[in-house]
């Protein structure tokens, strides 16, 4: 139950006063409550736990993490080639 996964918000609508969204998890779609990510817009990725988005994925930070890892990989390759 604790495994949260990222999915892409496709639509948002109000239901009984709560913002609800359709979220696409690589083809599998689910109804998700977006009350806790008021800034989320269609196209954004959110992390979902038990039907609730608890965080929006920050695209810039995601890229920064990967850049650090790629730089490490480049360094390793250069060392191996040297």
């Amino acid at each position: 139950m604790c495994l949260g996964i990222p999915g892409r918000v496709t639509e948002i609508e109000l239901e009984d006063g709560l913002p609800m969204g359709n979220v696409d998890f690589g083809g599998l779609r689910k109804r998700v409550c977006l009350s806790y990510v008021p800034g989320a817009r269609p196209g954004d990725y959110v992390i979902v736990h038990v039907g609730f988005a608890i965080s929006t994925v920050d695209a810039e930070e995601a890229e920064r993490t990967l850049e650090v890892l790629r730089a490490m990989d480049d360094l390793l390759r250069r060392e191996l080639e040297a």
Partner: protein, 369 residues
């Protein structure tokens, strides 16, 4: 899938392992707190690739630490006529003192699996003549959802919806691990999604007081390797700070809207953890304002006598003192289909993680460990 596949790249994993080998000069012992992280580490065999670094699996499996008393109480409620007991799927096979919810369902009790606690609220609206009870367990990650279910039921004026709450909090459990005599943990990977909700300020005094680095870490293989690398770097440099590996999902103050809802619906209370015992200020219970939604008050089930399976080492598994392969019942009497203890039930439990990864008990030869 975006934000998943990139963090599983084997090339980058190799680079991270090479860097780990370069910076590690001595043996270190780390603990990953969260069961989701345990699952990835064991499944990918990450713990077996680390250079002299031992990973102890922490108590972060919500199914595993939910106390027997609560399970037995849920089962007693489920057997009352006119009741629908709802829960996350994982909870159905967790052995209670005498039986489990799945067995009760087979015998006619109305026990239903829901994906979200909001589904339980919907059920209550659809069945005004029945009492719908949601077994609200889990860590800080499920607390916002459970809080919203109660808030929403209150807004709708539902009188046939209630929750049986047994929420647990991670930082007090880390404190308990660190304060235990003979604690071997030198650094922590903090659970990324718990921090997505709560932020990481609570960990700063913990890191300072116990002089342990704590790195907020994600769940994919590269996240875990980078989290381990960041922790080891701190240890090698003699630092003990809180750092955030999982920056794409976690902000320092967490999710303030979610924290506000939790603070409105719940208050901090002492809590018994299955297999571990009572930990002060380690759980959440409903506040007086929402006491009307407390299933524990609504349904008096009398005094329950609880009993664990005698073979089960769950307590020692949860604190990292033993591994599943130390248990004589592991993979013989106890399997995911026939769990004797809670850690064999969900994917987040250490015993189940070992079992699905095909880990075997070492052949018995002169005191094998």
């Amino acid at each position: 899938m975006k934000y998943l596949d990139e963090y599983r790249d084997p090339e980058l994993a190799r680079a991270l392992l090479a860097e780990l080998r370069r910076v590690t000069t001595r043996a270190w012992t780390l603990m990953e707190v969260c069961g989701g992280q345990t699952h990835t580490i064991v499944r990918q065999g990450i713990d077996e690739l680390l250079p002299g670094i031992r990973m102890i699996h922490g108590p972060g499996c919500p199914v595993c630490v939910t106390p027997l008393e609560i399970l037995d109480q849920a089962m007693a409620i489920a057997q009352r006529p006119g009741t629908i007991l709802t829960s996350f799927g994982d909870m159905l096979r967790v052995p209670g003192s005498r039986t489990d919810l799945l067995a009760l369902r087979a015998r006619g009790a109305d026990v239903r699996v829901v994906y979200s606690p909001m589904d339980a609220v919907t059920l209550a609206r659809r069945h005004p003549d029945r009492q719908v009870v949601f077994l609200a367990v889990g860590f800080e990650t499920t607390a916002p959802a459970n809080a919203m279910a109660v808030l929403h039921a209150a807004t709708l004026g539902l009188t046939n919806f209630s929750v049986l709450v047994s929420h647990v909090l991670v930082p007090p459990a880390m404190e308990a691990v660190l304060s235990a005599p003979g604690c071997e943990v030198q650094g922590f990977l903090a659970a990324g999604h718990v921090c997505a909700v709560m932020g990481w300020t609570e960990y700063e005094p913990l890191a300072a007081r116990h002089r342990v680095p704590i790195v907020v870490t994600g769940f994919e293989p590269l996240d875990l390797l980078e989290g381990i690398l960041m922790t080891v770097r701190q240890l090698e440099e003699g630092r003990y700070e809180v750092e955030n590996q999982y920056a794409r999902a976690v902000r320092r103050d967490g999710n303030t809207a979610a924290r506000d809802a939790i603070a409105r619906v719940f208050h901090v209370t002492d809590r018994v953890w299955r297999g571990i015992g009572a930990i002060p200020a380690s759980g959440l219970a409903l506040t007086e304002e929402f006491a009307a939604f407390d299933a524990g008050r609504r349904f008096d089930v009398g005094r329950l006598v609880v009993r664990e399976h005698p073979a089960c080492l769950a307590g020692q598994i949860l604190t990292g003192a033993r591994t599943p392969t130390d248990c004589t019942a592991y993979a013989t009497a106890c399997t995911p289909r026939t769990p004797l203890g809670a850690p064999m039930v969900s994917a987040e439990g250490t015993c189940a993680a070992y079992y699905t990864a095909g880990r075997r008990r070492p052949p018995r030869s002169g005191g094998a460990s």
